[in-house]
Symmetry: D2
Subunit: 136 residues, 4 copies
Protein backbone atom coordinates (compact mmCIF):
# COMPACT_ATOMS: atom_id res chain seq x y z
CA UNK A 1 0.00 0.00 0.00
CA UNK A 2 1.34 3.38 -0.94
CA UNK A 3 -0.79 6.13 0.47
CA UNK A 4 0.83 8.68 -1.85
CA UNK A 5 -0.99 7.26 -4.85
CA UNK A 6 -4.31 7.63 -3.07
CA UNK A 7 -3.62 11.30 -2.51
CA UNK A 8 -2.44 11.71 -6.11
CA UNK A 9 -5.62 10.13 -7.45
CA UNK A 10 -7.80 12.19 -5.12
CA UNK A 11 -6.07 15.40 -6.16
CA UNK A 12 -6.78 14.53 -9.81
CA UNK A 13 -10.55 14.45 -9.17
CA UNK A 14 -11.75 17.94 -10.03
CA UNK A 15 -15.13 17.10 -8.51
CA UNK A 16 -13.50 16.79 -5.08
CA UNK A 17 -12.01 20.27 -5.53
CA UNK A 18 -15.40 21.64 -6.64
CA UNK A 19 -16.96 20.23 -3.48
CA UNK A 20 -14.10 21.37 -1.24
CA UNK A 21 -13.44 17.80 -0.12
CA UNK A 22 -10.21 16.57 1.44
CA UNK A 23 -8.82 13.33 2.81
CA UNK A 24 -8.45 13.69 6.57
CA UNK A 25 -7.44 10.13 7.48
CA UNK A 26 -5.98 7.30 5.45
CA UNK A 27 -4.78 3.88 6.49
CA UNK A 28 -4.80 0.31 5.25
CA UNK A 29 -8.39 -0.33 4.17
CA UNK A 30 -9.69 2.94 5.62
CA UNK A 31 -10.25 6.43 4.22
CA UNK A 32 -12.00 9.43 5.77
CA UNK A 33 -13.03 12.41 3.65
CA UNK A 34 -14.39 15.74 4.90
CA UNK A 35 -16.23 18.43 2.98
CA UNK A 36 -17.81 21.72 4.03
CA UNK A 37 -21.42 22.32 3.04
CA UNK A 38 -20.61 24.99 0.47
CA UNK A 39 -23.17 27.51 -0.82
CA UNK A 40 -23.00 25.69 -4.16
CA UNK A 41 -23.67 22.21 -2.69
CA UNK A 42 -27.22 22.66 -1.41
CA UNK A 43 -30.59 21.07 -2.07
CA UNK A 44 -33.81 23.06 -2.20
CA UNK A 45 -34.30 23.35 1.58
CA UNK A 46 -30.80 24.62 2.23
CA UNK A 47 -29.33 21.37 3.50
CA UNK A 48 -26.35 19.67 1.87
CA UNK A 49 -27.40 17.93 -1.34
CA UNK A 50 -27.65 14.12 -1.39
CA UNK A 51 -25.08 14.22 -4.20
CA UNK A 52 -22.57 15.76 -1.80
CA UNK A 53 -23.21 13.06 0.79
CA UNK A 54 -22.94 10.44 -1.94
CA UNK A 55 -19.81 11.99 -3.43
CA UNK A 56 -17.75 11.82 -0.27
CA UNK A 57 -19.24 8.51 0.90
CA UNK A 58 -18.52 6.82 -2.43
CA UNK A 59 -15.04 8.35 -2.62
CA UNK A 60 -14.14 7.38 0.95
CA UNK A 61 -15.21 3.81 0.19
CA UNK A 62 -13.33 3.80 -3.12
CA UNK A 63 -10.10 5.15 -1.70
CA UNK A 64 -10.29 2.70 1.19
CA UNK A 65 -10.38 0.02 -1.50
CA UNK A 66 -7.50 1.60 -3.40
CA UNK A 67 -5.22 1.14 -0.38
CA UNK A 68 -5.58 -2.61 -0.97
CA UNK A 69 -4.63 -2.52 -4.66
CA UNK A 70 -1.24 -3.22 -6.25
CA UNK A 71 0.48 -0.23 -7.87
CA UNK A 72 -0.65 -1.40 -11.30
CA UNK A 73 -4.36 -1.09 -10.55
CA UNK A 74 -6.95 1.50 -9.74
CA UNK A 75 -10.54 0.94 -8.62
CA UNK A 76 -13.91 2.01 -9.98
CA UNK A 77 -17.33 1.89 -8.36
CA UNK A 78 -19.35 -0.95 -9.85
CA UNK A 79 -22.37 -0.25 -7.67
CA UNK A 80 -23.21 1.41 -4.41
CA UNK A 81 -26.31 2.00 -2.36
CA UNK A 82 -26.98 4.85 0.01
CA UNK A 83 -29.54 5.10 2.81
CA UNK A 84 -30.05 8.71 3.87
CA UNK A 85 -31.17 8.88 7.48
CA UNK A 86 -30.98 12.56 8.45
CA UNK A 87 -30.59 15.94 6.71
CA UNK A 88 -27.07 17.10 5.91
CA UNK A 89 -27.11 20.02 8.33
CA UNK A 90 -24.08 21.50 10.01
CA UNK A 91 -20.60 22.86 9.40
CA UNK A 92 -19.19 19.97 7.47
CA UNK A 93 -19.72 16.36 6.45
CA UNK A 94 -17.28 13.54 7.18
CA UNK A 95 -17.38 10.21 5.35
CA UNK A 96 -15.66 7.17 6.84
CA UNK A 97 -15.05 4.44 4.27
CA UNK A 98 -13.70 0.97 4.92
CA UNK A 99 -13.04 -2.29 3.14
CA UNK A 100 -15.36 -5.07 4.27
CA UNK A 101 -13.97 -7.76 1.98
CA UNK A 102 -10.94 -7.32 -0.22
CA UNK A 103 -10.74 -9.51 -3.30
CA UNK A 104 -8.89 -9.92 -6.55
CA UNK A 105 -12.01 -9.27 -8.60
CA UNK A 106 -14.37 -7.39 -6.27
CA UNK A 107 -13.82 -5.29 -3.18
CA UNK A 108 -16.86 -4.91 -0.96
CA UNK A 109 -16.92 -1.61 0.92
CA UNK A 110 -19.08 0.36 3.32
CA UNK A 111 -19.09 3.96 4.48
CA UNK A 112 -20.86 6.08 7.07
CA UNK A 113 -21.38 9.79 6.57
CA UNK A 114 -21.69 12.17 9.51
CA UNK A 115 -22.74 15.81 9.77
CA UNK A 116 -20.70 17.79 12.26
CA UNK A 117 -21.82 21.00 13.94
CA UNK A 118 -19.23 22.25 16.37
CA UNK A 119 -18.58 19.33 18.72
CA UNK A 120 -21.84 17.55 17.78
CA UNK A 121 -21.79 14.68 15.32
CA UNK A 122 -24.74 12.89 13.74
CA UNK A 123 -24.80 9.99 11.33
CA UNK A 124 -26.70 11.02 8.20
CA UNK A 125 -26.06 8.18 5.73
CA UNK A 126 -24.86 4.60 5.27
CA UNK A 127 -23.39 3.24 2.04
CA UNK A 128 -22.69 -0.32 0.94
CA UNK A 129 -21.11 -1.11 -2.42
CA UNK A 130 -18.68 -2.88 -4.69
CA UNK A 131 -15.43 -1.61 -6.19
CA UNK A 132 -13.69 -3.33 -9.09
CA UNK A 133 -9.99 -3.21 -9.97
CA UNK A 134 -9.02 -1.53 -13.22
CA UNK A 135 -5.58 -2.01 -14.78
CA UNK A 136 -3.67 1.23 -15.24
CA UNK B 1 -49.63 17.97 -10.62
CA UNK B 2 -48.14 21.37 -11.12
CA UNK B 3 -44.94 21.24 -13.07
CA UNK B 4 -44.07 24.80 -12.00
CA UNK B 5 -43.29 23.67 -8.49
CA UNK B 6 -40.88 21.08 -9.81
CA UNK B 7 -38.99 23.76 -11.68
CA UNK B 8 -39.07 26.05 -8.64
CA UNK B 9 -37.64 23.33 -6.41
CA UNK B 10 -35.00 22.43 -8.98
CA UNK B 11 -33.95 26.05 -9.36
CA UNK B 12 -33.52 26.25 -5.57
CA UNK B 13 -30.91 23.46 -5.60
CA UNK B 14 -27.59 25.23 -5.84
CA UNK B 15 -25.90 21.88 -6.49
CA UNK B 16 -27.76 21.61 -9.79
CA UNK B 17 -26.44 25.03 -10.77
CA UNK B 18 -22.91 24.05 -9.75
CA UNK B 19 -23.14 20.99 -11.98
CA UNK B 20 -24.78 22.91 -14.85
CA UNK B 21 -27.82 20.62 -14.76
CA UNK B 22 -31.21 21.46 -16.24
CA UNK B 23 -34.60 19.79 -16.59
CA UNK B 24 -35.14 18.98 -20.28
CA UNK B 25 -38.39 17.01 -20.03
CA UNK B 26 -41.07 16.83 -17.38
CA UNK B 27 -44.39 15.04 -17.35
CA UNK B 28 -46.61 13.10 -14.98
CA UNK B 29 -44.28 10.63 -13.26
CA UNK B 30 -41.34 11.41 -15.54
CA UNK B 31 -38.38 13.79 -15.34
CA UNK B 32 -35.30 14.05 -17.57
CA UNK B 33 -32.26 16.06 -16.47
CA UNK B 34 -29.21 16.89 -18.59
CA UNK B 35 -25.79 18.10 -17.48
CA UNK B 36 -22.58 18.82 -19.34
CA UNK B 37 -19.42 17.12 -18.13
CA UNK B 38 -17.86 20.29 -16.77
CA UNK B 39 -14.12 20.68 -16.08
CA UNK B 40 -15.01 20.75 -12.38
CA UNK B 41 -17.05 17.51 -12.46
CA UNK B 42 -14.34 14.96 -13.31
CA UNK B 43 -12.85 11.87 -11.68
CA UNK B 44 -9.16 11.07 -11.81
CA UNK B 45 -9.14 9.64 -15.34
CA UNK B 46 -10.92 12.63 -16.86
CA UNK B 47 -14.37 11.02 -17.14
CA UNK B 48 -17.44 12.47 -15.47
CA UNK B 49 -17.41 11.72 -11.72
CA UNK B 50 -19.77 9.08 -10.36
CA UNK B 51 -21.18 11.82 -8.13
CA UNK B 52 -22.31 13.71 -11.24
CA UNK B 53 -24.03 10.62 -12.64
CA UNK B 54 -25.60 10.02 -9.24
CA UNK B 55 -26.63 13.65 -8.82
CA UNK B 56 -28.68 13.84 -11.98
CA UNK B 57 -29.99 10.26 -11.74
CA UNK B 58 -31.18 10.77 -8.17
CA UNK B 59 -32.66 14.19 -9.00
CA UNK B 60 -34.46 12.92 -12.11
CA UNK B 61 -35.98 10.13 -10.03
CA UNK B 62 -36.88 12.51 -7.21
CA UNK B 63 -38.53 15.09 -9.44
CA UNK B 64 -40.44 12.36 -11.28
CA UNK B 65 -41.80 11.46 -7.83
CA UNK B 66 -42.58 15.10 -7.01
CA UNK B 67 -44.97 15.30 -9.98
CA UNK B 68 -47.13 12.78 -8.07
CA UNK B 69 -47.25 14.76 -4.82
CA UNK B 70 -49.96 17.10 -3.57
CA UNK B 71 -48.97 20.78 -3.33
CA UNK B 72 -48.47 20.42 0.43
CA UNK B 73 -45.68 17.88 0.14
CA UNK B 74 -42.16 17.55 -1.13
CA UNK B 75 -40.08 14.40 -1.50
CA UNK B 76 -36.73 13.29 -0.13
CA UNK B 77 -34.53 10.37 -1.13
CA UNK B 78 -34.77 7.65 1.51
CA UNK B 79 -32.40 5.33 -0.32
CA UNK B 80 -31.14 4.74 -3.81
CA UNK B 81 -28.76 2.35 -5.49
CA UNK B 82 -26.70 2.95 -8.57
CA UNK B 83 -25.05 0.44 -10.90
CA UNK B 84 -22.41 2.10 -13.05
CA UNK B 85 -21.98 0.21 -16.31
CA UNK B 86 -19.78 2.43 -18.50
CA UNK B 87 -17.54 5.50 -18.09
CA UNK B 88 -19.21 8.93 -18.23
CA UNK B 89 -17.53 9.99 -21.48
CA UNK B 90 -19.00 12.42 -23.97
CA UNK B 91 -20.52 15.86 -24.36
CA UNK B 92 -23.22 15.58 -21.77
CA UNK B 93 -25.13 13.20 -19.50
CA UNK B 94 -28.90 12.74 -19.55
CA UNK B 95 -30.81 11.10 -16.71
CA UNK B 96 -34.31 9.76 -17.28
CA UNK B 97 -36.24 9.25 -14.05
CA UNK B 98 -39.65 7.64 -13.65
CA UNK B 99 -42.07 6.57 -10.96
CA UNK B 100 -42.41 2.80 -10.75
CA UNK B 101 -44.88 2.75 -7.89
CA UNK B 102 -46.50 5.84 -6.41
CA UNK B 103 -47.68 5.59 -2.84
CA UNK B 104 -48.85 7.65 0.06
CA UNK B 105 -45.86 6.70 2.20
CA UNK B 106 -43.21 5.56 -0.28
CA UNK B 107 -42.63 6.25 -3.96
CA UNK B 108 -40.47 3.68 -5.73
CA UNK B 109 -38.48 5.17 -8.59
CA UNK B 110 -35.92 4.18 -11.21
CA UNK B 111 -33.65 6.15 -13.52
CA UNK B 112 -31.31 5.46 -16.40
CA UNK B 113 -28.36 7.72 -17.14
CA UNK B 114 -26.93 8.07 -20.64
CA UNK B 115 -23.76 9.67 -21.99
CA UNK B 116 -24.26 11.50 -25.26
CA UNK B 117 -21.51 12.27 -27.77
CA UNK B 118 -22.90 14.00 -30.83
CA UNK B 119 -25.66 11.71 -32.10
CA UNK B 120 -24.37 8.68 -30.15
CA UNK B 121 -25.98 7.67 -26.88
CA UNK B 122 -24.81 5.05 -24.39
CA UNK B 123 -26.40 3.93 -21.14
CA UNK B 124 -23.90 4.40 -18.32
CA UNK B 125 -25.92 3.81 -15.16
CA UNK B 126 -29.13 2.42 -13.67
CA UNK B 127 -30.66 3.63 -10.40
CA UNK B 128 -33.43 2.13 -8.25
CA UNK B 129 -34.64 3.83 -5.10
CA UNK B 130 -37.27 5.07 -2.70
CA UNK B 131 -38.56 8.61 -2.20
CA UNK B 132 -40.59 9.65 0.84
CA UNK B 133 -43.08 12.50 1.10
CA UNK B 134 -42.21 15.36 3.43
CA UNK B 135 -44.81 17.89 4.56
CA UNK B 136 -43.97 21.46 3.62
CA UNK C 1 -25.88 -19.94 -25.57
CA UNK C 2 -27.13 -23.38 -24.74
CA UNK C 3 -30.41 -23.25 -22.90
CA UNK C 4 -30.02 -26.87 -21.80
CA UNK C 5 -27.29 -25.92 -19.33
CA UNK C 6 -29.55 -23.33 -17.77
CA UNK C 7 -32.18 -25.98 -17.15
CA UNK C 8 -29.54 -28.40 -15.85
CA UNK C 9 -28.24 -25.80 -13.38
CA UNK C 10 -31.74 -24.87 -12.30
CA UNK C 11 -32.68 -28.50 -11.73
CA UNK C 12 -29.60 -28.89 -9.50
CA UNK C 13 -30.83 -26.16 -7.13
CA UNK C 14 -32.72 -28.00 -4.42
CA UNK C 15 -34.01 -24.65 -3.13
CA UNK C 16 -35.98 -24.20 -6.35
CA UNK C 17 -37.57 -27.62 -5.83
CA UNK C 18 -38.39 -26.77 -2.21
CA UNK C 19 -40.14 -23.61 -3.38
CA UNK C 20 -41.90 -25.36 -6.29
CA UNK C 21 -40.27 -22.98 -8.79
CA UNK C 22 -39.92 -23.67 -12.50
CA UNK C 23 -38.51 -21.90 -15.54
CA UNK C 24 -41.42 -20.91 -17.79
CA UNK C 25 -39.57 -18.87 -20.40
CA UNK C 26 -35.94 -18.73 -21.44
CA UNK C 27 -34.25 -16.87 -24.23
CA UNK C 28 -31.04 -14.99 -24.93
CA UNK C 29 -30.61 -12.65 -21.96
CA UNK C 30 -34.06 -13.40 -20.55
CA UNK C 31 -35.40 -15.87 -17.96
CA UNK C 32 -38.87 -16.11 -16.39
CA UNK C 33 -39.45 -18.23 -13.30
CA UNK C 34 -42.81 -19.06 -11.71
CA UNK C 35 -43.54 -20.39 -8.24
CA UNK C 36 -46.77 -21.13 -6.39
CA UNK C 37 -47.23 -19.55 -2.96
CA UNK C 38 -46.90 -22.84 -1.07
CA UNK C 39 -48.14 -23.35 2.50
CA UNK C 40 -44.48 -23.55 3.52
CA UNK C 41 -43.45 -20.26 1.85
CA UNK C 42 -45.45 -17.76 3.90
CA UNK C 43 -44.67 -14.80 6.12
CA UNK C 44 -46.56 -14.08 9.32
CA UNK C 45 -49.64 -12.50 7.69
CA UNK C 46 -50.18 -15.35 5.25
CA UNK C 47 -48.67 -13.66 2.19
CA UNK C 48 -45.75 -15.09 0.27
CA UNK C 49 -42.48 -14.52 2.15
CA UNK C 50 -40.06 -11.87 0.88
CA UNK C 51 -37.51 -14.68 0.62
CA UNK C 52 -39.72 -16.38 -1.98
CA UNK C 53 -40.00 -13.20 -4.01
CA UNK C 54 -36.26 -12.71 -3.69
CA UNK C 55 -35.48 -16.33 -4.54
CA UNK C 56 -37.23 -16.32 -7.89
CA UNK C 57 -36.28 -12.73 -8.74
CA UNK C 58 -32.60 -13.36 -8.06
CA UNK C 59 -32.68 -16.70 -9.90
CA UNK C 60 -34.48 -15.25 -12.94
CA UNK C 61 -31.86 -12.52 -13.12
CA UNK C 62 -29.01 -15.00 -12.63
CA UNK C 63 -30.21 -17.43 -15.28
CA UNK C 64 -30.80 -14.58 -17.71
CA UNK C 65 -27.11 -13.79 -17.18
CA UNK C 66 -26.11 -17.43 -17.61
CA UNK C 67 -27.54 -17.44 -21.14
CA UNK C 68 -24.75 -14.97 -21.99
CA UNK C 69 -21.91 -17.07 -20.59
CA UNK C 70 -19.54 -19.41 -22.45
CA UNK C 71 -19.91 -23.11 -21.63
CA UNK C 72 -16.88 -22.93 -19.34
CA UNK C 73 -18.43 -20.44 -16.94
CA UNK C 74 -21.28 -20.15 -14.48
CA UNK C 75 -22.52 -17.04 -12.70
CA UNK C 76 -22.95 -16.07 -9.07
CA UNK C 77 -24.83 -13.18 -7.52
CA UNK C 78 -22.33 -10.58 -6.31
CA UNK C 79 -25.03 -8.25 -5.05
CA UNK C 80 -28.68 -7.54 -5.62
CA UNK C 81 -31.23 -5.12 -4.26
CA UNK C 82 -34.95 -5.65 -4.00
CA UNK C 83 -37.71 -3.08 -3.59
CA UNK C 84 -40.93 -4.70 -2.40
CA UNK C 85 -43.94 -2.70 -3.56
CA UNK C 86 -46.98 -4.88 -2.80
CA UNK C 87 -47.81 -8.02 -0.79
CA UNK C 88 -47.19 -11.38 -2.47
CA UNK C 89 -50.87 -12.34 -2.64
CA UNK C 90 -52.40 -14.63 -5.22
CA UNK C 91 -52.06 -18.01 -6.90
CA UNK C 92 -48.49 -17.77 -7.99
CA UNK C 93 -45.51 -15.44 -8.44
CA UNK C 94 -43.71 -14.88 -11.73
CA UNK C 95 -40.23 -13.31 -11.93
CA UNK C 96 -38.99 -11.85 -15.19
CA UNK C 97 -35.20 -11.44 -15.27
CA UNK C 98 -33.15 -9.78 -17.98
CA UNK C 99 -29.59 -8.75 -18.72
CA UNK C 100 -29.14 -4.99 -18.74
CA UNK C 101 -25.43 -5.00 -19.52
CA UNK C 102 -23.44 -8.10 -20.33
CA UNK C 103 -19.73 -7.98 -19.60
CA UNK C 104 -16.67 -10.14 -19.29
CA UNK C 105 -16.27 -9.35 -15.60
CA UNK C 106 -19.70 -8.18 -14.46
CA UNK C 107 -23.21 -8.72 -15.78
CA UNK C 108 -25.74 -6.14 -14.64
CA UNK C 109 -29.26 -7.55 -14.37
CA UNK C 110 -32.76 -6.51 -13.38
CA UNK C 111 -35.93 -8.44 -12.61
CA UNK C 112 -39.58 -7.69 -11.95
CA UNK C 113 -41.73 -9.98 -9.84
CA UNK C 114 -45.49 -10.21 -10.34
CA UNK C 115 -48.25 -11.84 -8.29
CA UNK C 116 -50.92 -13.51 -10.41
CA UNK C 117 -54.46 -14.24 -9.27
CA UNK C 118 -56.49 -15.81 -12.05
CA UNK C 119 -56.19 -13.38 -14.96
CA UNK C 120 -55.05 -10.48 -12.76
CA UNK C 121 -51.39 -9.57 -12.53
CA UNK C 122 -49.71 -7.08 -10.18
CA UNK C 123 -46.07 -6.06 -9.92
CA UNK C 124 -44.86 -6.73 -6.39
CA UNK C 125 -41.09 -6.23 -6.59
CA UNK C 126 -38.17 -4.82 -8.58
CA UNK C 127 -34.62 -6.12 -8.38
CA UNK C 128 -31.36 -4.66 -9.67
CA UNK C 129 -28.05 -6.46 -9.26
CA UNK C 130 -24.71 -7.75 -10.44
CA UNK C 131 -23.72 -11.28 -11.47
CA UNK C 132 -20.11 -12.37 -11.80
CA UNK C 133 -18.73 -15.19 -13.96
CA UNK C 134 -17.22 -18.18 -12.19
CA UNK C 135 -15.02 -20.70 -14.02
CA UNK C 136 -16.36 -24.23 -13.91
CA UNK D 1 -40.53 -3.79 23.59
CA UNK D 2 -42.06 -7.17 24.16
CA UNK D 3 -39.87 -9.93 22.84
CA UNK D 4 -42.76 -12.40 23.00
CA UNK D 5 -44.44 -10.80 20.01
CA UNK D 6 -41.26 -11.15 17.99
CA UNK D 7 -41.22 -14.87 18.69
CA UNK D 8 -44.93 -15.15 17.93
CA UNK D 9 -44.50 -13.41 14.58
CA UNK D 10 -41.46 -15.52 13.73
CA UNK D 11 -43.30 -18.73 14.59
CA UNK D 12 -46.11 -17.68 12.22
CA UNK D 13 -43.71 -17.54 9.26
CA UNK D 14 -43.95 -20.96 7.64
CA UNK D 15 -40.94 -20.09 5.46
CA UNK D 16 -38.76 -19.98 8.58
CA UNK D 17 -39.97 -23.47 9.50
CA UNK D 18 -39.32 -24.70 5.95
CA UNK D 19 -35.75 -23.39 6.20
CA UNK D 20 -35.24 -24.71 9.75
CA UNK D 21 -34.49 -21.20 11.02
CA UNK D 22 -34.69 -20.14 14.65
CA UNK D 23 -34.10 -17.00 16.68
CA UNK D 24 -31.00 -17.53 18.82
CA UNK D 25 -30.61 -14.05 20.29
CA UNK D 26 -33.02 -11.17 20.71
CA UNK D 27 -32.61 -7.85 22.41
CA UNK D 28 -33.59 -4.22 21.97
CA UNK D 29 -32.76 -3.43 18.34
CA UNK D 30 -30.94 -6.72 17.78
CA UNK D 31 -31.98 -10.12 16.42
CA UNK D 32 -29.83 -13.14 15.52
CA UNK D 33 -31.26 -15.99 13.47
CA UNK D 34 -29.59 -19.34 12.75
CA UNK D 35 -30.43 -21.91 10.08
CA UNK D 36 -28.84 -25.19 9.07
CA UNK D 37 -27.93 -25.65 5.41
CA UNK D 38 -30.63 -28.22 4.73
CA UNK D 39 -30.57 -30.61 1.77
CA UNK D 40 -33.52 -28.65 0.38
CA UNK D 41 -31.82 -25.22 0.67
CA UNK D 42 -28.96 -25.64 -1.83
CA UNK D 43 -27.84 -23.94 -5.03
CA UNK D 44 -26.42 -25.85 -7.99
CA UNK D 45 -22.92 -26.29 -6.56
CA UNK D 46 -24.10 -27.69 -3.25
CA UNK D 47 -23.63 -24.51 -1.21
CA UNK D 48 -26.46 -22.83 0.67
CA UNK D 49 -28.70 -20.91 -1.74
CA UNK D 50 -28.52 -17.11 -1.82
CA UNK D 51 -32.22 -17.14 -0.97
CA UNK D 52 -31.41 -18.86 2.35
CA UNK D 53 -28.78 -16.25 3.17
CA UNK D 54 -31.22 -13.52 2.18
CA UNK D 55 -34.10 -15.10 4.11
CA UNK D 56 -32.35 -15.11 7.46
CA UNK D 57 -30.51 -11.82 6.88
CA UNK D 58 -33.71 -10.01 5.95
CA UNK D 59 -35.63 -11.61 8.83
CA UNK D 60 -32.93 -10.83 11.40
CA UNK D 61 -32.98 -7.21 10.26
CA UNK D 62 -36.78 -7.09 10.27
CA UNK D 63 -37.17 -8.59 13.73
CA UNK D 64 -34.47 -6.27 15.08
CA UNK D 65 -36.72 -3.47 13.80
CA UNK D 66 -39.83 -5.04 15.32
CA UNK D 67 -38.31 -4.78 18.80
CA UNK D 68 -38.56 -1.00 18.35
CA UNK D 69 -42.24 -0.95 17.40
CA UNK D 70 -45.26 -0.27 19.60
CA UNK D 71 -47.59 -3.22 20.16
CA UNK D 72 -50.01 -1.85 17.55
CA UNK D 73 -47.54 -2.09 14.69
CA UNK D 74 -45.63 -4.65 12.69
CA UNK D 75 -42.87 -4.05 10.15
CA UNK D 76 -42.43 -4.97 6.50
CA UNK D 77 -39.33 -4.85 4.32
CA UNK D 78 -39.55 -1.88 1.95
CA UNK D 79 -36.21 -2.60 0.35
CA UNK D 80 -33.00 -4.38 1.14
CA UNK D 81 -29.71 -4.98 -0.58
CA UNK D 82 -27.40 -7.91 -0.14
CA UNK D 83 -23.70 -8.22 -1.01
CA UNK D 84 -22.64 -11.86 -1.09
CA UNK D 85 -18.92 -12.17 -0.30
CA UNK D 86 -18.27 -15.90 0.16
CA UNK D 87 -20.06 -19.22 -0.49
CA UNK D 88 -22.54 -20.43 2.13
CA UNK D 89 -20.48 -23.46 3.14
CA UNK D 90 -20.54 -25.09 6.56
CA UNK D 91 -22.80 -26.50 9.22
CA UNK D 92 -25.11 -23.55 9.63
CA UNK D 93 -25.64 -19.89 8.83
CA UNK D 94 -26.13 -17.18 11.44
CA UNK D 95 -27.59 -13.76 10.60
CA UNK D 96 -27.06 -10.85 12.96
CA UNK D 97 -29.53 -8.03 12.37
CA UNK D 98 -29.52 -4.61 14.00
CA UNK D 99 -31.32 -1.29 13.87
CA UNK D 100 -29.11 1.48 12.52
CA UNK D 101 -31.72 4.23 12.73
CA UNK D 102 -35.14 3.81 14.27
CA UNK D 103 -37.86 6.12 13.03
CA UNK D 104 -41.58 6.65 13.07
CA UNK D 105 -41.87 6.17 9.32
CA UNK D 106 -38.73 4.26 8.33
CA UNK D 107 -36.35 2.00 10.23
CA UNK D 108 -32.93 1.60 8.64
CA UNK D 109 -31.36 -1.77 9.36
CA UNK D 110 -28.26 -3.79 8.58
CA UNK D 111 -27.35 -7.44 8.96
CA UNK D 112 -24.28 -9.63 8.61
CA UNK D 113 -24.55 -13.31 7.75
CA UNK D 114 -21.90 -15.80 8.79
CA UNK D 115 -21.25 -19.42 7.86
CA UNK D 116 -20.15 -21.57 10.77
CA UNK D 117 -18.20 -24.83 10.45
CA UNK D 118 -17.39 -26.24 13.85
CA UNK D 119 -15.59 -23.44 15.69
CA UNK D 120 -14.77 -21.53 12.48
CA UNK D 121 -16.87 -18.57 11.43
CA UNK D 122 -16.74 -16.63 8.18
CA UNK D 123 -18.74 -13.62 7.07
CA UNK D 124 -20.57 -14.45 3.84
CA UNK D 125 -22.95 -11.54 3.32
CA UNK D 126 -23.84 -7.96 4.30
CA UNK D 127 -27.34 -6.50 4.06
CA UNK D 128 -28.55 -2.91 4.30
CA UNK D 129 -32.22 -2.02 4.07
CA UNK D 130 -35.34 -0.20 5.15
CA UNK D 131 -38.27 -1.49 7.19
CA UNK D 132 -41.61 0.31 7.37
CA UNK D 133 -44.20 0.14 10.14
CA UNK D 134 -47.57 -1.42 9.32
CA UNK D 135 -50.58 -0.96 11.58
CA UNK D 136 -52.01 -4.22 12.88
Amino acid sequence: MTLERVHASFDAQSMMTTLGAEIIHLDDGVCHIAAPILPGSLQQQGFGHAALTFAIGDSAAGYAALTKMPATQEVMTAEIKINLIAPAAGDRLVAEGRVEKPGRRLIVVTADVFAEQGAARKKIALLQGTMIPVDL
